[in-house]
């Protein structure tokens, strides 16, 4: 793990802020759909800790990305799992880091191949700016400025505790 000279906020505190914003705002039965991998962990934790009945699904956006010919297919594609009916549901897409917006576009497109939701919102732990598409989050743990040269992602230790880490972008 390389953090460089960057000060990264405590992910657990951001998680609590995010949860506090969502608690009064989301529907009692809103479904939480996490984007692999960081978003999936967050969706699980949110579903467990928020009041209400929040079913959880997971999306791997690999088959909906727009950069196959430049970046290739990533080597560890996970299976998208939407174990509830999307039709007419209130859905909150959950991701760790909002950056260009391309993953979220892909996640929304994935979702619509399962049905027509009543509404779709977006919750992210960190918004690092740099948007390339007209996408904004409804719930944000915190905005954060990070060099474009670094990849920012969520990690989880064996005890389930979250942390933010940065590293140089990898090919694939």
């Amino acid at each position: 793990m390389t953090t460089g000279d960057l000060y990264l906020p405590a992910a657990e505190a951001l998680f609590n802020d995010l949860k506090a914003q969502m608690a009064p705002a989301i529907a009692f039965d809103a479904k939480l759909v996490g984007v692999f991998s960081g978003g999936a962990w967050l969706a699980d934790r949110l579903a467990a800790e928020l009041d209400g009945e929040h079913e959880v699904g997971y999306i791997d956006v690999s088959f909906y990305r727009d950069d196959l010919s430049t970046s290739g297919l990533k080597s560890n594609v996970r299976s998208t799992q939407i174990p509830f009916s999307v039709q007419g549901a209130h859905i909150v897409i959950v991701d760790d880091v909002l950056f260009t917006g391309r993953s979220i576009r892909a996640a929304v497109n994935t979702l619509f191949d399962y049905g027509r939701p009543a509404s779709v919102q977006l919750a992210v732990l960190v918004d690092r700016g740099g948007r390339e598409l007209p996408i904004a989050a409804d719930y944000v743990g915190a905005p954060l400025i990070v060099s474009r040269d670094l990849m920012l992602a969520l990690s989880k230790d064996d005890a389930g505790k979250f942390a933010l880490t940065t590293e140089p972008w990898m090919q694939r």
């Binding site: 791997d60 196959l68 290739g72 297919l73 560890n76 299976s79 998208t80 399962y114």
Partner: protein, 320 residues
Amino acid sequence: MLSKKNLQLNENGDLRHLLAIEGLPKRIIERILDTAESFVGVNEREVKVVPLLRGKSIFNIFFENSTRTRTTFEIAAKRLSADVVNLDVARSSTNKGETILDTIANLTAMHADMFVVRHAESGAPYLIAQHAAPHVHVVNAGDGRHEHPTQGLLDVFTIRKYKKDFTRLTVAIVGDVLHSRVARSQIHALTTLGVPEVRVIGPRTLLPADIERLGVRVFTSLEEGLKGVDVVTMLRLQNERMTGALLPSASEYFSRYGLTPQKLALAKPDAIVLHPGPMNRGVEIDSAVADGKQAVILPQVTYGIAVRMAVMAILSGSTR
């Protein structure tokens, strides 16, 4: 000239063409199987299409007829949103004297991104891959007696679905191994994935003389060979490839090598039965087995689509 192995992989070691299982590293085979797992989920949805290969043109070029394999490649490509063109070359230009490479050059001029090739001559897909434009990918859909790599991959994918761990399995391949590109691909896939014992069972006239070199055990008695196996792959008796008098008759073949419930009982109780299709009921397999609980022949067909989607997606994402 490039070696066969190098031709399939690019400088980064990624899959660029799929021509044979022989020489493919284990990590590539496992990556294809893992990716196929995610495509199984796509195929079970109401909307069975993902936009991954939008705008790509895939040409199915079948110099030798095959309805099923061509159809499954076509479905796989369409579920990836690619545009598919089927060329029944067996009945067209080559009959007018055009060479394979001229056919390929013409199709490349039509902006093809991928060729799925079946040919009666072993090695034809290599020839095409060697001369293909840098951005074009080639998939071998069966070449002569050589290999049928996507069939081998869907066989091991099906085996993994039912048996999980390859390193504890005994697998028997029964029948006309001599003419079978399916057998060759499956043997290479199984040994690469660490299956400790692969058996081939058949009359000596239908087993290649040097088959032991592939690391398999040879049995000429079906009863002996089936004892204790976890997986049985029945091969089709390829009447159309039989030129000499290799066999007395189909009925005598069935009595010695046909898989009946009684013979299958010699395998492990939870053994599964595979067949690449099309089946000759009453020649290599009894209907009671083909339609029985241990047969996974139709799941093979279903998984074959996911495996071919995975191959096409991985190839399309790789560069030269």
